[in-house]
């Protein structure tokens, strides 16, 4: 087991040393995706604003969403969109990079970090939109927001592990790309992105709330902004889930990294 982890760490360290490669490629990827458009990557901001704005407008008409519903949805969508993008795009990562994996000796962590950074850049544009909605609803930065920053840092720190796990899943079980994308569509409605937990919550809704890891990742960013409190329990849980994902990612990377070129 130690040898497996050592191989994974070696791959990661090589990836970190080659940071110029994945940073340049991630920036090129984002630029290429919007190269021929007039607004360029600003479309990422507009996409977020259009989606969040529509949901807030429909569900909060006449104050039906409750106090601070706009802030609740804006922060929830920011986190959930990020998680969705990371998971759905990572499942096909190694298949997309097949010619590189079979033609160069770049460590797999280069592709992982390229995908992670790409998702982070996209989320950066959505973050601007989120901050704009918060400002429009009269929500201004306060001390508890530091806890949200800590939550965002935790999510970003777990991202390479999630990318790695999803990418290996996609290599050995190609159908998973459709399973994951469908799962994330369903989870968007089963997770408290648009709906809030209520005191009398029972049955399936309670199960979807409490036994759903996405709930806790949403809470560590949202709760400090919406309620001004630190979600210690959710933070501890996310820390544990993140550590578990990193262990799994290291094992997968160490054990199967040399098999990817043969399986693709």
């Amino acid at each position: 087991m130690l040898a497996i982890v050592a191989h994974a760490v070696e791959d990661l360290l090589r990836g970190i040393r080659m940071r110029r490669v994945w940073m340049a490629l991630a920036a090129e990827d984002i630029g290429d995706q919007h190269k021929r458009t007039t607004l360029g990557p600003l479309w990422l901001l507009l996409n977020y604003l259009a989606f969040a704005g529509t949901f807030i407008f429909i569900f909060d008409r006449g104050g039906g969403g409750g106090q601070g519903y706009g802030v609740f949805v804006a922060t929830g969508l920011l986190v959930f969109f990020y998680i969705t993008e990371v998971m759905t795009s990572s499942v096909t990562l190694f298949a997309r990079e097949e010619s590189f994996i079979k033609g160069t000796t770049l460590p797999l962590s280069v592709y992982v970090m390229r995908a992670a950074l790409q998702a982070m850049i996209r989320a950066g544009y959505a973050l601007i939109g989120c901050l704009a909605i918060l400002a429009a609803t009269g929500t201004w930065p306060a001390l508890p927001w530091l806890a949200s920053v800590a939550g965002i840092i935790l999510i970003l720190a777990v991202t390479p592990a999630v990318v790695t796990c999803c990418a290996f899943l996609g290599v050995f079980f190609p159908d998973s790309q459709y399973i994951v994308s469908n799962l994330m569509r369903v989870m968007m409605f089963m997770s408290p992105v648009f709906w809030r937990a209520s005191d009398g919550m029972t049955g399936l809704q309670a199960a979807f709330y409490y036994y759903n890891p996405f709930t806790w990742f949403l809470d560590i960013v949202r709760q400090p902004i919406v309620e001004g409190t630190m979600p210690w329990g959710a933070f501890g849980l996310c820390l544990g889930i993140g550590a578990g994902l990193w262990v799994l990612a290291l094992v997968l990377l160490g054990a199967f990294r040399r098999q990817v070129a043969l399986v693709l």
């Binding site: 080659m18 630029g31 994996i101 000796t105 770049l106 159908d175």
Partner: protein, 253 residues
Amino acid sequence: MIAITADNLSLTYRVRQKLTLRPPAARPPQQTGGTISGSGRHRFVQALEGVSFTLEAGDRLGLIGGNGAGKTTLLKLLYGIYAPTGGRLAIAGKVDALFNIALGFRAEATGRRNIALRGLINGWTPDEIAGRMEDIIAFSELGDFIDLPFRSYSQGMAARLAFATATSFEPEILLMDEWIGAGDAAFQKKAAERMQEMADKAGIIVLASHNPELIRKTCNRVLELKGGRVERFGGIDLLEDAEAPAGGKRKAG
């Protein structure tokens, strides 16, 4: 000291049966070289088996054999893309490869940006990229086109840029899957000279090719693979034997 020592190398991997609703008889056959053993979900490909050879500085090895013999697999194993599942591989010296020279070129980026990106992928430092940039541009003969998007290049221009970038280094150990060339007649002559220059400077060359003339011109040793195993290994005179196995001349395919 530049050297390659391959001792009883083997590469075996499991054929992963993808989930499909097709009846077993209608499933497409596995496209692979080497030999296949086992059945159903427990099939294994023996891509290389018992491959042994030693190369020292000055050796130019020609890899020959039919399609699926294991030439490309052996090259990728020497490069480090595949890891051997058996035997021992010891390499002293920096290994560079010319497999797919157009790999990673981006349609929307300019030629100059593509050189920088390709350099980063090759592991060059920013200083090395800056140092080689003008030489590459001059060799590719792209002139002012270098600052236009790659997608605006003709096929010949794209090939010239890819060639100029891919061959802008001095290898210690050079692996090639077929000899590469690019461009029109004039550029091909220039490219051939560059390739010869690289080959002359490299400590060791391993060249997989179906072209016996090229092997004869470039190499001093020959290794013939068949079904992932070494059929013969020795001096260039083995090439004559390989070409005439049963009393008749055999054409390279």
